[in-house]
């Protein structure tokens, strides 16, 4: 009974208000308008280094949350181990660049493909697990990745991490100006959202929704459940790895505690999606747009006074969202719109 409350309505995603499948043209126009709106803060604050940093990070985390949302939101598989794929992207590109002088532009896609392949390999046994067992298993993957990164010194630099020397140039994906990074991150977010928009209208997208709503019914209707989950996971992991590469090239320093930090990375993707609206197209971006600047503000204001307070507040937000806003900001807006429409119709 309760189960349908939080998922059933979310199926419609952005198109719910129109009750029906929206035309491709309309979806495209919406996408372009949305991306233009997303670019607005960058255009307005292009001279402010402090804000540019926050904006770049918001784009990056928004894109990463949207990548998580593909398997976590549409597929309903709550992975807490996406830090693994993020780490592969970060370490892969950084090591190949530092050791072999290979441009991240060349390595980003092969590294992402590797992450996708590994994701399929480790997900194949874990997808037998349902619900909480899957989440715990993926959490454990993250811990194992930490141990490997900590000990495989020849590849990861171990606890000392990898430092990427500053050599500005487009070919190195290292930039002198913050706005160039922000634009790069925007491109990433736009890519992930674009793929999500297409996916949401594709056969795989509908299969993922079917698997999320009722795995047994999906199987009974002839869907290859495991295959659908694996493809969703591969796509999600590959995009996450791309985000990891961008992260490494932006920070130019990575070490295990930064990359495999559950609260800041692995679970953060899920948290941002939850706040914005799990299983919606705009939700993860919206979540990032709300949380990342807020978090920066908290950290700047509170970090010196009381250590940890900003993360404690984030934790509280997570609890409150799970309790009162299961469909996130997008869900809340949709509810409001629906209520207003009903009222308007009742008034006539």
């Amino acid at each position: 009974m309760n189960k349908t409350d939080n998922t059933g309505d979310a199926v419609g995603g952005l198109s719910r208000a129109d009750s029906g499948i929206e035309s491709g043209q309309r979806a495209f126009v919406k996408y372009v308008l949305g991306m233009a709106a997303l670019l607005l803060p960058l255009a307005l604050l292009v001279d402010d280094a402090h804000w540019l940093n926050i904006i770049a990070f918001t784009y990056l985390m928004g894109g990463l949350a949207a990548a998580w949302n593909i398997i976590g939101g549409f597929g309903g598989q709550f992975s807490l181990g996406h830090g693994v794929f993020f780490g592969i992207g970060a370490y892969g590109a950084a090591r190949l660049y530092v050791a072999y002088d290979l441009s991240p532009w060349l390595t980003v896609l092969p590294v992402a493909a590797f992450a996708a392949a590994l994701a399929m390999l480790i997900s194949w046994p874990t997808f037998r697990l349902r619900g909480p067992f899957f989440a715990i298993a993926t959490l454990a993957f993250n811990e194992v990745a930490f141990v490997i990164a900590h000990n495989l010194t020849s590849v990861t630099g171990g606890p000392r991490g990898i430092m990427i020397p500053f050599k500005a140039g487009l070919e190195n994906m290292i930039f002198r100006e913050r706005w160039q990074y922000a634009l790069l991150m925007f491109g990433f977010a736009a890519l992930v959202i674009g793929i999500t928009v297409i996916l949401r209208r594709s056969r795989l997208g509908y299969y993922l929704l079917a698997v999320r709503e009722d795995e047994d019914a999906a199987r009974a209707s002839g869907i290859d459940v495991l295959g659908v989950k694996l493809r969703g996971m591969a796509l999600s992991a590959g995009l996450t790895a791309i985000g990891g590469t961008l992260f490494a090239m932006y920070l130019r320093f990575i070490d295990p505690p930064t990359i495999f930090n559950l609260q800041e990375v692995g679970v953060k993707f899920a948290l941002l999606s939850l706040i914005g609206g799990i299983g919606t197209i705009a939700g993860p971006l919206l979540g990032a747009a709300l949380i990342i600047p807020f978090e920066n503000f908290l950290r700047a204001e509170l970090a010196n006074a009381i250590p940890g307070l900003s993360l404690a507040i984030l934790g509280l937000l997570m609890v409150l969202a799970a309790l009162f806003m299961k469909r996130g900001v997008v869900g809340a807006i949709e509810d409001l719109v629906a209520r207003l429409r009903r009222k308007a119709r009742g008034g006539k």
């Binding site: 709550f78 874990t126 715990i136 298993a137 679970v267 307070l309 404690a312 509280l316």
Partner: protein, 296 residues
Amino acid sequence: MDQILNVLVFGLLLGGIYGLVSIGLNLIFGVVRIVNFAQGELVMFGMFGSYYAFAYLGINPYLSVFIVAPLVGLIGVAMQRLVIQPLHNESNMQIFATFGLLMMFQNIMLGVSKGEAFSIGGQVGSSVITVGDLRISVVRLVVFGATTLVTIGLHLFLGHTMTGKSIRAVTQDKRAARAMGINVERTFLLTFGVGAALAGMAGALLTPIYSITPGVGGNFILAAFAVVVLGGLGSVWGAYIGGLIVGVVEAFAGYYIDPAVKNATWFLIFLVVLIVRPSGLMGQVGAEEVGFREQN
């Protein structure tokens, strides 16, 4: 040979520790099927409570356990009432909510302790018994004894008292339990409270062994999940034996391979069990699905 024996004893005593932290989780996750990621933080609260009692009031951790455990139990009751109860049947949201609690608890404690790590091991925990070549730490032996006693107690409680039987009945079928006149909500509240109190107890007893930091719960949570799944969800003796196995495996892996691989060993155990025998060593086959199916 002596080396192997020493490692074995060390592993068994470590297993006692894992058994102790898993007992509470076994009630909460194994019996009433609530995914509580904040369980390790309840252990952490127990440790800080007993540390402060020792540092400011001079109370020995083995006495303060009788104050600390009920207090942590009360935190658990509040958690259940305010967060878990509204989310029953929604395991995905429980994951989020309890992870949020984990972040809250950990970072609030970070604020309170100002990031300082405490230790009372020097004052309480340094005595060692020597038997031949074997060296046995007394504080760890106490934990082992406590684990055994609590396991026996819990076994008797769940199997032979009306309250214990009603807890098992609620797990198996909420509706039928309600029809038999069991107050389902109160049973859940009680179970969660007891599970939290056991975590608090574990924390107090571990104070002399571990250095006390806000992040210490992270040392236990994955191990505890591995133990509960290995032993079989809800099986009291399964958690006990599962704890010992995890402890011994970790000790041998740590001694003969590398101390850093311990997280990996928990994980391997966890994964192999879930794939080969999801019901665990001593769980009933199919029991792992009970309670995650939709119920009203």
